[in-house]
Symmetry: C2
Subunit: 150 residues, 2 copies
DNA sequence: AGTGTGAGTTCCTTGAGGGAACCCCGATTG
DNA sequence: CAATCGGGGTTCCCTCAAGGAACTCACACT
């Protein structure tokens, strides 16, 4: 086995990596999010090898993150996010937030996010679904869950 | 060039991938978070090749995500998260949340998170730092930022 | 018939990941 | 003092995935 398969680990992070952990995959999702939904658009935008792009798109469709949908009489397709895929964008937003904070440098962030609800240019923060307070890695204790390996 | 370098793209997601996008890297961070801070511990826990683990740890130290710190008179070291590294865990928490939701199956999530502030087993949600309302990918509009490429 | 375009396939080369063996250094043991 | 041990890596070889360019196919338009 060349690349280790993470899907079998009893760890939701490893399993998520099994779906979106390969090189390029998060950027493909970003492109779909940003409106580049067709093969040629994504390939041109990213400069990714066509072979690899084919593999990544197929993998994401198989895993239910994207849906391949015809948009013409001719054999033309576009890729759209499923509900599962839309939720994955939370991960991308967290990545973008971290990159904006630590890697943007002098120039500032390349992309801004306007929140529809309040209309402001804003950022995301992680909060507890229970009490609504800030909830980051230092604010939690890790416990064995029901799906833990013995 | 074998693996395309994402660091030069005007995209915070791509830049973040340049730091933690290589295979195994998120799992290494997860291990450090979970208390596996030494080379042998991480290697045994993940089953990662020693060569690759060396490369990943060095890369994370170079990028300021981890700090290599001696813990003995003998040449023994442990890896600890910097502030920059701790903030990266937000991304892992988002990944874990998604994996718990979509990939855990019958068995349920392998790990539970107890929030110190409220004491409850909980999950994270993304919220707007401005107005505090829910803020996911569908709730935002993407705009060019100051660091956007022309 | 000839051209164009989107969406892939095919083929070759290179280099990264896997795996196992090996090495170095300081501490402990006989 | 020599031998052993254990943490923390290096070195080496092999395989397979990423890069890149060329090629294919199906349909529409001229």
């Amino acid at each position: 086995m060349q690349r280790t398969n993470f899907g079998g680990m009893a760890c939701s992070i490893a399993r998520t990596l099994d779906v979106v952990g390969e090189p390029w995959t998060p950027l493909v999702l970003r492109d779909v999010w940003a409106g580049f939904t067709r093969f040629e658009q994504i390939q041109a935008d990213l400069g990714i090898s066509r072979k690899v792009l084919t593999e990544r798109l197929n993998h994401l469709v198989e895993r239910g993150v994207l849906e391949r949908r015809p948009y013409d009489q001719r054999p033309r397709y576009e890729y759209v996010l499923t509900d599962k895929g839309v939720e994955l964008l939370d991960v991308l937003m967290a990545m973008a937030t971290w990159g904006d904070h630590w890697l943007a440098g002098e120039a500032g962030p390349p992309v801004l996010y306007r929140h529809h609800a309040c209309g402001e240019i804003s950022k995301v923060d992680l909060r507890c679904t229970h009490c609504g307070e800030s909830m980051h890695a230092c604010d939690v204790e890790l416990l064995q869950g029901p799906g833990a390996a013995v």
